[in-house]
């Protein structure tokens, strides 16, 4: 992919996302959730989307807001059901959204395979369980495996800590989670970061996502969470 574009707003960063696209959305709960890009995507208006994410949204923000806006046809995720996933829960029970539950590690590895040009892989996770029903299985060296296929995205929306102006990325703590894998698995990777630094300012040994995987970058305000009275 050619050189990453540095954009002025999240709205510019999500231009061109077509109806019917498959969107990989980073984050594990709040950590690494690309809130600004999701909000921009809601404003942008693309609909009939397939979303690949670990969860199916919390409260009425971020991914939950995208679902609530009725833009998502199908969710592939490992864990939709959470204490505050009521938006998804209602859509699902009303039959207004499709769900494919994927074990969390398979979700990650299937996207890794998409980014790495692997056609399919034999995975031991889920063998003999309902989630492997109908899938090809094989015994290799005495162990049973299920054949799993890549999950490729048209777009990835990722939140990182810092980018340099070329698009190299570093993440912060466990907010790294799915970001680096999704960045490799999408045709177009769009990243929101807390800070854009000059080229050469990131340690080449510590870059987690090399610039080649990044197409668009936008700098956003950091979000802060404080302990509330009622938790």
């Amino acid at each position: 992919m050619s050189r990453a574009q540095l954009l002025d707003s999240a709205d510019e960063a999500v231009t061109g996302i077509e109806d019917g696209s498959t969107i990989l959305i980073g984050g594990f709960g709040l950590a690494g959730m690309p809130f600004d890009l999701i909000d921009a995507l809601i404003r942008q208006g693309a609909t009939d989307l397939t979303v690949v994410a670990n969860n199916a949204g919390n409260g009425e923000v971020g991914l939950a807001a995208l679902l609530q806006a009725g833009r998502v046809r199908k969710v592939l995720c490992s864990f939709p059901r959470q204490v505050d996933s009521y938006v998804f829960d209602e859509l699902y029970r009303a039959g207004r959204i499709e769900l494919e539950v994927v074990p969390q590690g398979n979700l990650a590895e299937r996207m890794r395979a998409a980014g790495a040009g692997i056609g399919a892989f034999f995975c031991p996770t889920g063998v003999g369980t309902p989630l492997a029903e109908g899938k090809e299985t094989r015994t290799i060296e005495g162990r049973d495996y299920v054949l799993e296929y890549p999950i490729k995205g048209d777009y990835a929306l990722v939140s990182a800590y810092r980018a340099d102006a070329m698009g190299n990325l570093v993440y912060r703590r466990t907010a790294r989670n799915f970001g680096p894998v999704m960045a490799t698995a999408a045709t177009t990777t769009i990243v929101q970061v807390g800070e854009v630094v000059p080229i050469g300012a990131l340690d080449p040994e510590a870059i987690v996502t090399p610039s080649i995987y990044v197409d668009r970058i936008v700098q956003v305000e950091a979000r802060h969470y404080t302990v509330e009275g009622a938790r």
């Binding site: 864990f79 059901r81 699902y92 539950v101 590895e109 369980t129 989670n177 302990v227």
Partner: protein, 220 residues
């Protein structure tokens, strides 16, 4: 049938006492993943001398305790455990992405993983992700990865369901999480080794072995 190696204590254990028993049994220097729910209690009983390193599947080795938060404190939302609760670092910790984190589990590099369970079969099948009730929204998270994700997979659970039925069963009736993956069951009534030769009772709590075998329908 493997002979019992354990002893009988006076009464059934609380979950917190059981957590202490499991913590005691984890070998020094082990790399361990503690599943969401009851198993997280085990961390409170690990001693610094044990040097146990905790893995959290959302991308960290060397996870520390829950962050101490007071009203109004800024939470570091970038550092949580698999239950999405803020935690702290320990010295020597490291971060990695999700594919690397699950490769670490799937590749058998963790020494021990401790999980909760709805049911465990005598041959080590695990059911802990879905009750199978119609209408439930399916959600597996990392459960199937954890089930096969360590050299030893331990289960921590009450031995009997609320209706009194055993949760260590001949065959699971609930949807499986993994097949033949559990090596040991820690319960409030006793500790069981699941071996190819059958179920071995290591310890019993508040019940003698004979009675326990009877209630579980285990042959003598």
């Amino acid at each position: 049938m493997k002979a019992s190696t354990g002893s009988t204590s006076g009464r059934v254990l609380t979950m917190d006492e059981l957590a202490a028993v499991i913590a005691r049994d984890i070998a020094e220097g082990s790399y361990v993943n503690l599943g969401i729910g009851q198993p997280t209690k085990i961390a409170d009983h690990l001693t610094p001398e044990q040097g146990v390193v905790l893995h959290t599947e959302n991308g960290m080795l060397g996870m520390g305790r829950k962050a101490e938060e007071r009203l109004g404190d800024v939470i570091d939302a970038d550092l949580t455990n698999a239950g999405k609760v803020p935690v702290v670092e320990t010295p020597g910790c490291s971060y990695f992405h999700h594919a690397d984190s699950f490769a670490m589990m799937r590749g058998g590099h963790l020494d021990v993983c401790v999980l909760g369970a709805f049911q465990v079969s005598r041959t080590g099948d695990l059911a802990n992700w879905s009750t199978g009730r119609p209408g439930d929204i399916p959600a597996v998270g990392g459960a199937m990865d954890l089930a096969i994700g360590a050299k030893d997979v331990f289960v921590m659970m009450t031995l009997f369901a609320k209706d009194g039925s055993p949760k260590l069963v001949e065959a699971c009736t609930m949807p499986l999480t993994g097949v033949g993956c559990v090596s040991r069951v820690y319960s409030d009534h006793g500790v069981f080794d699941l071996t190819p030769e059958g179920v071995g009772i290591r310890e019993t709590y508040g019940v003698d072995e004979f009675e326990l075998r009877r209630r579980l329908g285990l042959d003598g």
